[in-house]
């Protein structure tokens, strides 16, 4: 089948993209008003935000580095939403990916082994919620929240207990040098490339395979999908497992691809929160893998720009976080609106 360029564009549907772009603008404008109200110069604040995030090779590398883990956790959430489940288990699958990478690369210092084990354990940790949902009808929000906590404390125990570094007790064992992800430059590893490939594969899976069609169909209407001869139960199962796998990959790459520590810090400080951030990224990216690539980079920019925004525009980090929160909320509104509309629709039907 041959398609012309304009037809392809039509197929991708640019409307959500334009909506999000407008929302970004609105967010920046409201943020500017807040900055003015606090007595800061919004012009120079934003100038240095972009200068820090995109103004130098190092800035761009930082932006992409920050974008990597949240891109993967966002995919987890998006796959869930596309199959009609509200999967917030990305958070704990991420922990398991990270700790699995630490444990298994210290057994065999091979990068691929670490990544595969990260994915495997991320997916395994998603399994209980999947089974509970499919066979017992337990709502995934409840089960994934609870499993997040169980996973959190279990991994914390692994961090301070058996896998603590005896020479540096505030960290786990380090990833052996041979198993670390190659660095492209400026502290950026090939993790970003793997993440983008994962997003493209997810897109391909959801929109260009029979399995993906079944997943999306059961996301829109389970009964209709069943009636059409598909298997919504398996769709939900796969959605959990692939989601867990992606977040596990994110966790593994977070530790294997980011110096200088190449280890999980005590208290899980450098693996916490990425799953939750991923929900925001997914909403901004309209739960579309390609949108998520862009929105993760956008979130990465906001993070990378904070250094110069503080140093040159003299805006304290707390205010920067307020501004970023405002921007993220306005950007997420269109997608939240969709979600709520769908929920009401389903409730009525």
């Amino acid at each position: 089948m041959k398609r012309s360029g304009s037809e392809l564009l039509k197929a991708i549907n640019l409307r959500p993209f334009v909506e999000s772009l407008i929302a970004v603008l609105v967010g920046f404008i409201i943020g500017a008003i807040v900055l003015l109200a606090f007595g800061y110069n919004p012009w120079s604040a934003y100038y240095w935000l972009f200068q820090g995030a995109l103004g130098s090779t190092y800035g761009i590398a930082s932006t992409l580095r920050y974008a990597t883990p949240i891109m993967l956790t966002a995919l987890t959430f998006a796959i869930g939403t596309r199959t009609g489940i509200f999967n917030i288990g990305a958070e704990s699958s991420f922990y398991f990916g990270a700790i699995a990478a630490v444990i298994f690369t210290n057994i065999w210092d091979n990068m691929w082994f670490g990544l595969v084990m990260g994915m495997l354990f991320g997916a395994l940790w998603a399994l209980p919620a999947a089974v509970l949902k499919v066979y017992r009808g337990v709502h995934e929000v409840i089960s994934t929240i609870m499993l997040n906590w169980i996973g959190w404390f279990f991994v914390l125990w692994l961090i301070v207990g058996p896998y603590a570094n005896p020479n540096d007790p505030n960290k786990t064992l380090r990833i052996p040098v041979n198993a670390r992800l190659p660095i492209i430059g400026y502290g950026l590893s090939i993790a970003i490339i793997i993440a983008i490939i994962a997003a493209l594969l997810t897109y391909f899976l959801l929109w260009h395979t029979t399995m993906g069609f079944g997943m999306r169909a059961s996301g829109i209407n389970q009964k209709a999908a069943r009636y059409a001869g598909m298997n919504p139960k398996m769709a939900v199962m796969w959605s959990f497992l692939i989601g867990g796998l992606l977040s596990g990959l994110g966790g593994a790459m977070k530790i294997m691809g980011e110096g200088p520590g190449y280890a999980i810090s005590q208290g899980g400080a450098n693996i916490y929160g990425f799953g939750f951030d991923g929900i925001g990224v997914a909403l901004v990216g309209r739960n579309h893998p390609l949108g998520i690539i862009l929105s993760a980079i956008f979130f990465g920019m906001l993070r990378a720009g904070t250094a110069l925004m503080q140093a040159q525009a003299h805006v304290p980090l707390e205010i920067i976080k307020v501004i970023q929160g405002i921007i993220v909320i306005t950007v997420a509104i269109p997608s939240l609106y969709d979600l709520v509309k769908k929920a009401i629709h389903r409730g009525a039907a």
Partner: protein, 409 residues
């Protein structure tokens, strides 16, 4: 949709006019140079570690007419980015990294920018020409805190004291070891003075965080309920919750002053809750930061380790004068607000109250603590400074302070 877009564009333009109007007034370039300081994740407002660093930096900036640039870190993923961004600007006399957690990041960035001077507080980087490592002998100061806590408990016939710590990092082992040492020393001192054997247990908890007051409060409440008579907080912002817990325990008994007492850390924290905090183990981060800037300005900056102990005034137990000096360093309106909150009409009343708090503890205890201080200063007594898990376990297992002193050698 089009209408909406137009509206935004108009808004944006209006904004840019406003913004360009004020851009000229924001730049001020009358200073002789600049210094930068990167805070740990705990950040400003902890009333201890990071705020003390700011105190030293702002004092130096004022004195040498320098621009002070401050950077907070949102998470530890920001350390390298913050340091690297500053170093790339090539305009700072010295970049100060506040906190042990930044050690790896400073090492990396210092290698990339060999011409940029760095100073790190609490981080051990002995072998780089462009990095000054400023370390403190927290074990010495904590020994005084331990002696004070131990003697107060022994004198009141109690057998437990507590310590609430932040993350389990080697720096904190030094605090814990010093505190334990001081308590063992107090047991011995009390036995010789009163002829009675006492044995004081140390309840300890690493909360895993420096910025979570709720965690500190929960940990202290648990220790109080087990009978801890004095609690030493070594947890930055987390430790503020320890003060709350002790204050609530006092309130429940209708008391305004301890015991039970809390002991503050890093800065002279007594003013935060007068009556609750008997004294603070000061770690003069401000002195360290100031020294680094001064050396950089005067051209005497040298890479390597600088260690500040009791003798160098790098650590010490707070006096009422220290507390008032700390209080006076707060902005004027903060001082007034705080006095009002505490129910004092003047600073003199606060000072009087602090002195009364200290009178809850008999003079001979203060003298004993002073005695220990002098013995540590003149080298007669050495306090262990474990830097890894194995050696802290040995200190925990030791039965007497003499046994601990052998570990110090």
């Amino acid at each position: 949709m089009k209408k909406l877009l137009g509206l935004f564009l108009i808004g944006l333009m209006a904004l840019s006019v406003v913004a360009s109007g004020c851009i000229s007034s924001s730049e001020e370039e009358s200073t002789k140079g600049a210094i930068a300081i990167v805070y740990d994740v705990g950040g400003r407002g902890d009333l201890s570690f990071n705020d003390m660093a700011y105190l030293g930096a702002s004092k130096a900036a004022k004195e040498f007419n320098l621009e002070l640039v401050e950077l907070q870190s949102n998470s530890e993923d920001d350390y390298v980015k913050n340091l690297e961004t500053l170093a790339a600007q090539k305009k700072y006399l010295v970049i100060i990294a506040v906190g042990f957690m930044m050690t790896d990041a400073v090492k990396q960035v210092a290698d990339e920018y060999p011409d940029q001077k760095f100073a790190i507080i609490d981080g051990f980087i002995p072998d780089k020409d462009n990095v000054m490592s400023i370390l403190f002998k927290e074990n010495e100061g904590s020994a005084l805190a331990g002696a004070l806590a131990g003697l107060i408990a022994a004198n009141d016939g109690k057998d437990k004291v507590g310590i609430v710590l932040g993350m389990e990092i080697p720096v904190l082992y030094k605090f814990e070891a010093g505190y334990r040492f001081g308590i063992k020393w107090a047991e011995d001192y009390y036995k010789q003075k009163e002829g009675k054997d006492v044995s004081i247990d140390v309840l300890y908890q690493y909360t895993g965080s420096f910025g979570d007051a709720a965690k500190g409060k929960a940990a202290a409440q648990a220790q109080l309920s087990q009978g801890a008579w004095v609690i030493y907080q070594v947890a930055g912002g987390t430790g503020l919750g320890v003060f709350d817990a002790v204050e609530e325990a006092l309130k429940a008994q209708n008391k305004k002053m301890g015991p039970p007492f809390a002991i503050g850390v890093d800065s002279a924290q007594d003013w935060i809750k007068p009556g609750v905090i008997i004294a603070s183990m000061m770690k003069r981060v401000d002195v360290g930061v100031y020294t680094a800037v001064k050396d950089a300005v005067e051209g005497t900056f040298k890479g390597g380790v600088v260690e500040l102990g009791l003798k160098e005034d790098g650590v010490g137990l707070s006096t009422v004068d220290d507390v008032m000096a700390m209080f006076n360093s707060l902005p004027e309106d903060t001082q007034q607000q705080k006095l009002k909150d505490l129910g004092f009409n003047s600073k003199d009343e606060l000072k009087q109250y602090l002195e009364n708090t200290r009178k809850q503890v008999p003079d001979w205890i203060w003298d004993a603590v002073k005695e220990l201080e002098n013995k540590i200063k003149n080298g007669e007594i050495k306090v262990p400074a474990p830097m890894d898990k194995e050696s802290i376990e040995k200190v925990r297992a030791a039965q007497t302070w003499q046994e601990m002193m052998e570990l110090a050698e």
